[in-house]
């Protein structure tokens, strides 16, 4: 009889007793703790989003400024600040561009601490 009742996975007898033996409850402040963690996680996401937006914006401004300065220096016949673009290879230009982006991102990240 016990074999039949315990081995039958559809027998409600065992289910009822297991459910009765498995009544656990969380502490009363559990809900508050979860919701507090959730709102902290929301704030962390918002902070991260704001930080990424600031870095992208600042780096864009810096890269744009560097590009303007380079253009002015190339176009002005009297400038002393002439970048060695004439005769440079595509690799040199690519390296220059990557350096400008890295410089822009690093500066923006550094400035982000003050924003």
């Amino acid at each position: 009889m016990a074999d039949q009742r315990v081995n039958n996975d559809q027998d409600p007898w065992l289910r009822e007793h297991i459910r009765a033996a498995s009544k656990f409850s969380t502490t009363p402040d559990f809900r508050q703790r979860v919701l507090r963690d959730v709102s902290e996680s929301n704030r962390a996401v918002a902070r991260r989003t704001r930080r990424i937006a600031t870095i992208v914006l600042l780096s864009g401004v810096i890269i744009f400024t560097v590009a303007i300065v380079m253009m002015i220096s190339m176009l002005s016949p009297t400038t002393t600040f002439r970048l060695p673009l004439e005769g440079s290879s595509a690799v040199d230009t690519a390296i220059g561009f990557v350096c400008a982006v890295v410089f822009g991102l690093a500066t923006a990240d550094w400035l982000d601490g003050y924003v």
């Binding site: 016990a2 996975d9 703790r33």
Partner: protein, 195 residues
Amino acid sequence: MQEKGVLTDDDIIRRIRSGESSAFGELVDRYKDKAMSLAVRLLKHEEDAEDALQEAFVKAYTSLGTFRNDSAFATWFYRIVYTTCLNTLKRKGRGQPLAEFQEDNMSGGLDSVGRESLDSEMVDRVISEALAVMHPIYASIMDLFYVQECSYDEIVSITRLPLGTVKTRLNRGRHVLRVALLQKIPDLESWLINE
């Protein structure tokens, strides 16, 4: 308009996704006690279980964007609880190897119960003791099947175990319960006939 009490999980999830993050509290209320049972079966320690459950709820909230409604929310959430508890076990180095599991664990605890005092509560006590010392890999499957009322397919999806393994573990868990019941309640057979 639907009343608060009859909101489905999907309704609540829609509210959370539309920016009403406080609606998550309703999901917490709905699942905390049942999920606590699964966590206790896996971790064997109520405080650890509650901590793991708290972590699981926060993970569920932050991953809600990845929930695609291709399964019930409960199945998806129990998968998070299950993996969080397994990670806690690994972190604490309490992942007891299967070989160490002994049915002798059942021998402590309750004294044998005499027929005169035998009632439904006694059976609950014996089952409770047996589940408390049962190895987590069996106890968790028993909990998912009997307490959470998951189907075999849902248990497979939660545990990522093959169906055969799920059925074997369920049988093994039932065997452990039967041994415990017969050991502690010698009059169980006649009691069951009379019940």
